[in-house]
Symmetry: C2
Subunit: 108 residues, 2 copies
């Protein structure tokens, strides 16, 4: 029981759900906002800003990286993150289209 049935849905719906899942925790929203504030990337400063441990923040960063919303690069002993604006725009586009179709009732 409790088998995963998520892959039995339309790829479109799976994609939207994956984007939404990446945004479904306030820590990840806060991280995105923090990176948006300074277009220069931050690193462990993010840990200071959140009420979470270093390892937990690292996990959230990884989740955002996995969906491509942020990118990480190594800068000496520390690693810096920044938003992938192109990917962010793509996500917004996907969600916007979904919402607009749902609201207007005009679906493909």
């Amino acid at each position: 029981m409790a088998q995963n049935k998520k892959n039995q849905f339309d790829q479109q719906d799976i994609d939207i759900a994956l984007i939404a899942k990446a945004l479904s925790h306030p820590a990840r929203i806060a991280i995105i906002r923090a990176l948006a504030r300074r277009n220069t990337c931050i690193c462990g400063e993010i840990v200071q800003m959140l009420p979470l441990s270093q390892s937990t923040v690292s996990q959230h960063l990884k989740e955002l990286k996995d969906v491509g919303i942020i990118r990480g690069s190594i800068d000496g002993p520390r690693s810096c993150y920044c938003l992938d604006h192109q990917r962010l725009s793509w996500c917004m586009q996907k969600l916007s289209v979904f919402f607009n179709e749902s609201i207007t009732g005009i679906l493909p």
Copy 2:
């Protein structure tokens, strides 16, 4: 451990995360799409459309109802659901503002 720290974040971020969470499962996306297709509400037909049991679908419907995206009404022995367009627009607005702020870097 694994205590819930979600309420230690900005209310803004919590709100966005809650909207995203409601959309974070393909079944719920499919339900919204189905309701958008026919502006007339459906009921147990939704169960037929999804690869899930009746009880599981009922749970997903409840989750969408809890965030206000859909509304349910009783029609004889069956219950009908329909989109709350106003609430949907509000959700889209919230997400759009968040995305736009993040992309442009112009934050309040």
